[in-house]
C-alpha cells in the first residue's frame, strides 16, 4: 500500500468513515430501534431471572449493566460490518484510497458513539428499573467513556476479522466476548465503586477502590486501539 497519506489525512479519513456510518444510522435507525430495545430487554430479563428483590438487583446492577452493554456491542459491531457486506461496499471502501488506520478509527468511532448513546439509556434503565442510586456520576461516566473506546476498538478488529465469512453471525460473539471480558470485570468494579453498591461476593477485591480498574480499562483501550491501527490493513486485505 502506498504511503502517500500524511498524518492529518488519517484523521480526515476516520472522520469521513465515521460520518458515513453515523449518517446511515441516522437514516436507518437500526441500532436505535433494534439494538437499544434489545439492551433494555436484557435488563428486564435479568430482573425476571433474579427475582424482584430490590437488594439483589441493586447488588447485581453494575454487572448486569455491563453484560447488557457487551451483548449490545456484539450487535452494534455486526450492524457496522453488515452495512458494507452487500454491493461490494467493502471493496469500494478499500479502493477509495483511504488509509486503513483511518478506516479503523472511523468505524470504531462510529461504533463508540452508538455504544455511548446506548450506555446512557441503559444506565438510566439501571437506575430506574433496579433502583440503584448514583454516588459518583463522574466515576460512572469516566468508566463508560474509557470502556467504550476499548469495546469499540476490539469489536471493530473482530468485526473486520469475521466480515466476509459465511459463519460470521455465530463466530463473532464467540471470538469477541472472551476478549472483552476484562472490560466486563473492570467496568463492573468501577461501577460498583461509583454506584456505592456492596461488592457482593467479590470478597476483598475492592480494597484499592475504583482506581486500579480504571487503569485496566485504560490499558485495554490503548492496547486495542493501537492493535487496530497497526493490523487493520491486513484485515482489509483478507476479505
Amino acid at each position: 500500500m502506498p504511503t502517500m497519506t500524511t498524518e492529518p489525512s488519517v484523521w480526515r479519513d476516520a472522520w469521513v468513515v465515521s460520518a458515513k456510518d453515523l449518517r446511515i444510522e441516522m437514516r436507518s435507525r437500526v441500532v436505535m430501534n433494534q439494538v437499544l430495545p434489545f439492551g433494555l430487554l436484557v435488563l428486564v430479563l435479568f430482573a425476571l431471572a433474579l427475582g424482584p428483590g430490590r437488594q439483589t438487583l441493586i447488588g447485581a446492577a453494575p454487572g448486569l449493566f455491563w453484560v447488557a452493554v457487551l451483548f449490545s456491542s456484539v450487535l452494534a459491531v455486526q450492524r457496522s460490518f453488515s452495512l458494507e457486506s452487500s454491493d461490494g461496499a467493502r471493496d469500494g471502501l478499500r479502493l477509495a484510497g483511504l488509509d486503513p488506520a483511518g478506516v479503523f478509527l472511523g468505524k470504531a468511532g462510529a461504533v463508540a458513539a452508538q455504544l455511548g448513546a446506548l450506555e446512557v439509556v441503559l444506565g438510566a434503565g439501571v437506575v430506574v428499573l433496579y433502583g440503584a442510586d448514583v454516588r459518583s456520576l463522574l466515576g460512572l461516566v469516566a468508566a463508560c467513556l474509557v470502556a467504550t473506546v476499548g469495546l469499540a476498538a476490539a469489536g471493530t478488529i473482530y468485526g473486520a476479522l469475521a466480515a466476509g465469512l459465511r459463519v460470521r453471525e455465530t463466530l463473532l460473539p464467540f471470538l469477541l466476548l472472551p476478549v472483552v471480558a476484562p472490560v466486563l470485570l473492570a467496568g463492573t468494579r468501577a461501577w460498583q465503586a461509583a454506584l456505592g453498591s456492596p461488592p457482593g461476593a467479590a470478597g476483598g477485591a475492592s480494597t484499592g477502590g475504583g482506581d486500579p480498574w480504571m487503569g485496566v480499562l485504560v490499558v485495554f483501550a490503548l492496547v486495542y486501539v493501537s492493535l487496530g491501527v497497526l493490523l487493520y490493513g491486513y484485515l482489509e486485505e483478507a476479505a
Partner: protein, 295 residues
Amino acid sequence: MSGMPDVTAGETQPAMGDRGLRPWSERTVWVVRILGIASLVGVAATVWLGLWVTPPDRVQGNLVRLVYVHPAVAWIALYVAFGTVGVASVLWLWPRTRSSFFDRLAASAMEIGTVFTGLTLVTGSIWGKPTWGVWWAWDARLTSTALLFVLQLGYLALRRVPSDPESRARRSAVAALVAALDVPIVHFSVLWWRTLHQKATVLTPTLSPKIHGIMAWTLLLGFVAFTLVFFWMLAVRMRSASIEDYLDDEGMDAALEERWAEGSSIAAESEEPAAAPVGTLVGAGMPATVKGGEL
C-alpha cells in the same frame, strides 16, 4: 524451509511458492526421532520419580505429586505454546519473512497449546477438589485460563472456516496476536486480584525454589520432559499439516485434470461419427480453453 523472497506479489497471487511437499531430510528425521525418544524417556522418568521416588508432602500428602504435572503443563500452555504462536504470527505478518511455514507453525502450536490448556484446567480441577473442596473456584487465575481456553477454541474455529489459504493465514495471524495479549493478563492477574491460587514456586522473582532436593529435581525434570513433548508433537503435527496442504493442492490438480479429460472425451464422443481428425482437434482444443478459464 525458505521464506518467499517476493512478497508484494502476495496481494494479487496467493503465496503458493513453497506449498509442494518436500521429504524430511535424513537429519531432520533423526532429530525428530531423538526428540521423540528423549521426551518419552523424560515423561517416564518424571512418572517414576513423581510416583515412587519422591516422598509425600507433610501437609498435602500424596496430592503434592500433582505438582510434577500441573505447573509443567501450564507452563507449556501459557508460555511455550502461546509464545510460539505469537512469534510465528508476527513472522507471517511481517512481509519479509512471510511463508506458509509460519502459518503451519502457528496453527500446529495453537492446536497443541489448546490441548495443554485443557489439561491445565483438568489437572488443576483434580487438585482443587481435595485441597479447596471444590472442583472449580472463581479464582482469578482459573478464570483467566478458562477464558484463554475459549480464545484458543475461537482461533481454531476461525481456522476451520472454509477460506483460501492466504486469507485464512492472514486472519489467523491477526486473531492470534489479539488473543496473545490475554496471556500477560493471565500472568499479572495473580497480582491484581487476591487469589486462592498458590504463588509461583520455581519462577519466583529471586529464583530461589521453595522446595528442595529430589522434589525440586523432579519438578524441573517435568518441565523439561513436557517441553520436549511439546516440540516433538509440534514437529510431527507440522509435518502432517504440510501433507494436508499438499493433498489439497493435489486434489485440486486431480479434479481439474479429471474435468479436462471429461471434456475432451465428451467432445471426442460427439464427434465420433464424423471424421476422426476433427474429433481429435476439438479434443485437444478443449483443455486449453478450460484451463484458460479456470486459472
